[in-house]
Point group: C3
Chain length 342, copies 3
């Protein structure tokens, strides 16, 4: 997408210092930019790269003064960081979909589709599915019966959505994630083998939720597994049956939450955390990477680490002590000797 | 699926107390039920919801006595829990497949198919594959050459099955799992780079096995990676090349088992467990979530926790001690002072 | 693939002792071989199986002397192990692709394809994609716009490649892996909700890289997430945005590396390791399974374990001490008693 300095300056509300007609093809980091790119100087520690690489357009702060010659159109702004985010959103918008249903997509005759919906090649959509306006579904997606997807939600290639799932508006679900698979529930029968516990519940996902690649969210036994609005889930996360996650909680990669646990709102959960089933985590709780939680956490905004989890401050203290044990052991040996000699 | 109280009572062998013709559309938890649902009271702590929500039909125990008015058809049974499981299986059976091969499925001419096999849209099946009677394959599945799948097994959307895999009867494999990919085996060559070790073995899965979503099971270098009958694997599990898992063992989400390890029968393995390669775990062993096993576990039915794993009782004791270290440290300091003053 | 002893001996440079025309259908472990197989004796501890199973052809070392009757053609070689690897590569080569583009594959008109490229059924390839000669793409793959894939690379079924990804030559990517999904980056806005940080960078993968099943590699915010040549990634691994991994590093299953971290060359990283974001790991570092790294590791070829990570020797010592704590506690209690009695 070619754009001129003038067009960009209008969008990011900056002032041009140089050639308004200067054209670029896209953004690049200052270390990698050349004359075909727009770049930015948010941190003056990278200033030397500007002189070295001479980007076509450069976003700088209002008070920037070049120390060496620059064959560059400057766009001066108040906050370089905020302007760059606006710029990135604009270039990302390039990927907005075309509202076209591919001829090879296989839609059941009962499917209801809003306006400007895109459906990619070989995607399969079963009966009674409802897609809101502006929904964008990539190739090779399977959406099973009775699923509802809200306006402007994007479903990337290879996502699998089991029956009865409800997804809100403005969500993004990345490739190969699985929503609504049966939970892990079995009961030993009289012969000592496992009988499957049927799962007839579903998954309900709020608005503005983003779900990473290869993440799995299981349906409830009965009722719903619930992902609140504005929740952000990274890649390869496991959410078990009947879990509930409060609004605006963010969870990093490879974390697992066992069945029926309720996580509060605005929690920050690190990577590879394990949370046992049937407990509650209060609002705003922070869990360090690799934390193992086996009990309720009732204190809002508390911070935890370790497995089993302890308050973060205690975790650090205990681990410092652990590595002083050798010295302690030596001390006690000496004392024992000294007392015996008496 | 609309059903009457009479029809349901016949199936769960209960006695009707109320209108035999009362109709419902499906089951719901008592907290969420309304007059269109059948619900149940397995635990009297939820009794108040029955009066509040007035479900269309309510399964109760033989001796239940309503304390407030109920506009509900009661079905009285001996064990509410067992009746509910029967009920759920019945509603789940609604999803049974129609024995139809979608016109868009691409089957090699050599594929052998039993009676009443369903194959979903865009599924691809390569040469010499054999599918037993009643097999149900969802859309977008790829089954490579020489794979055998036993009667009544269900393969969900997006599953990938590499060549030579053998799957037994009555199994369920959830979406986007990968069965039979090459194991992680490399040998450093003279220049210090890795050469791939070819994997010409396969994966063999027994009967009544359930495998969760996005789980991976690698093929053997030679011979077979073996998953015993009645094994239950949760989501996002890693089973490496040449692993063997004994009958009726259950493994929770995100656990990984490294190459050539042999797990016994009837083990219960928690989430995010790691088991090193080339070891043996005895029958009936239980591993807590996040356990790291680096040595053989030879004692059947023993319980382990921690990383490196120790017996569960020792794990708890050591962790209690760990957090008392500060006190111990203070004691020793005092003693040292006292002894010096003498 | 039927082969005679004579054909095999030529390929593995061995000497035949027996019938040159003896035919087999493929290799098998000595414990499982029969007269239709070629097998090998790399370790004499398995010798008894040779007499028991009588494989059609048996690879043995130059100085092997049978202790019991063998109805077998022997092939004598200098190194049994190296010969077996040659043999396996030969049988694996059987699976080489046929250079056929399936009629159902959907290729954008702008796609550029080298010679002898195979593309499987229902694979979708978007505009401006470039595929080098000999590339082998299995069914149900989605390759988005502007992706480049180098010569002889194999992409297994169900892989998802997001726009702008660059993959080198001679790579193997296993099923359902996702390359180039958006990184996990959000900024809290004024209302306390997360705004998405747009990711307009890409993923760049070197030559001779192997990536396991269901692994995820996120694109950079700007610039590139970089996987060096000869890197080997196992299944279910998470590589976050802007990570860089040096040449010939191997990483075992279920490990996660957080954003912007730089891993050196020739590192060996165990399973379920977590590495925090924005740090550096030196060349040749070894991390035990389940290690949690929260700081830079600057010493090349050092070995680490535990979470938080400590040098491996210290980890073992501390854990030995941990389980002696009870004894230490008892000692200190005795000393306290003794001192008080004075």
């Amino acid at each position: 997408m070619k754009m001129t300095a003038g067009q960009i300056a209008t969008i990011i509300e900056g002032r041009i210092d140089g050639d308004t007609e200067r054209q670029v093809v896209g953004p690049a980091k200052i270390e990698e930019a050349n004359k075909h790119h727009i770049s930015f100087l948010a941190n003056l520690k990278y200033e030397e790269y500007a002189y070295q690489n001479q980007p076509g357009i450069l976003i700088v702060s209002d008070d920037f003064e070049a120390k060496k010659p620059l064959d560059t159109t400057l766009i001066r702004v108040e906050s370089v960081y905020l302007s760059v985010q606006k710029l990135l959103k604009m270039f990302a918008a390039e990927r907005v979909h075309d509202g076209r249903v591919d001829a090879s997509a296989q839609l059941h005759q009962d499917v209801q589709i809003g306006e400007h919906v895109s459906i990619g090649a070989y995607t399969v959509i079963d009966q009674n599915v409802i897609l809101g306006e502006g929904v964008n579904i990539h190739p090779h997606v399977h959406i099973a019966q009775n699923v509802k997807i809200g306006p402007r939600t994007t479903i990337h290639s290879g996502v699998r959505i089991y029956p009865d799932t409800v997804i809100g508006s403005d969500c993004i679900i990345h490739s190969n994630s699985v929503i609504g698979s049966d939970g892990f529930g079995f009961a030993k029968n009289e012969e000592g083998f496992f009988d499957k516990i049927e799962h007839i519940g579903n998954v309900v996902i709020g608005d503005h939720v983003e779900i990473g690649a290869n993440t799995t969210i299981d349906r409830a036994v009965m009722g719903s597994t619930i992902i609140g609005s504005y929740v952000k889930l990274d890649n390869l996360i496991q959410i078990a049956h009947n879990v509930e996650i409060g609004e605006s909680t963010a969870i990093a990669s490879q974390t697992g939450i066992a069945g029926s646990t309720k996580i509060g709102a605005h929690c920050l959960i690190g990577g590879q955390v394990a949370i046992i089933g049937h407990i509650r985590i209060a609002d705003g709780v922070q869990l360090a990477a690799k934390t193992g939680v086996a009990q309720n956490i009732t204190k809002p905004h508390s911070k935890w680490a370790g497995s089993p989890a302890v308050p973060s401050t205690q975790f650090i203290r205990s681990h410092l002590m652990l590595h002083k044990l050798k010295a302690l052991w030596t001390d006690v040996s000496k004392i024992k000797k000294q007392l015996k000699t008496k």
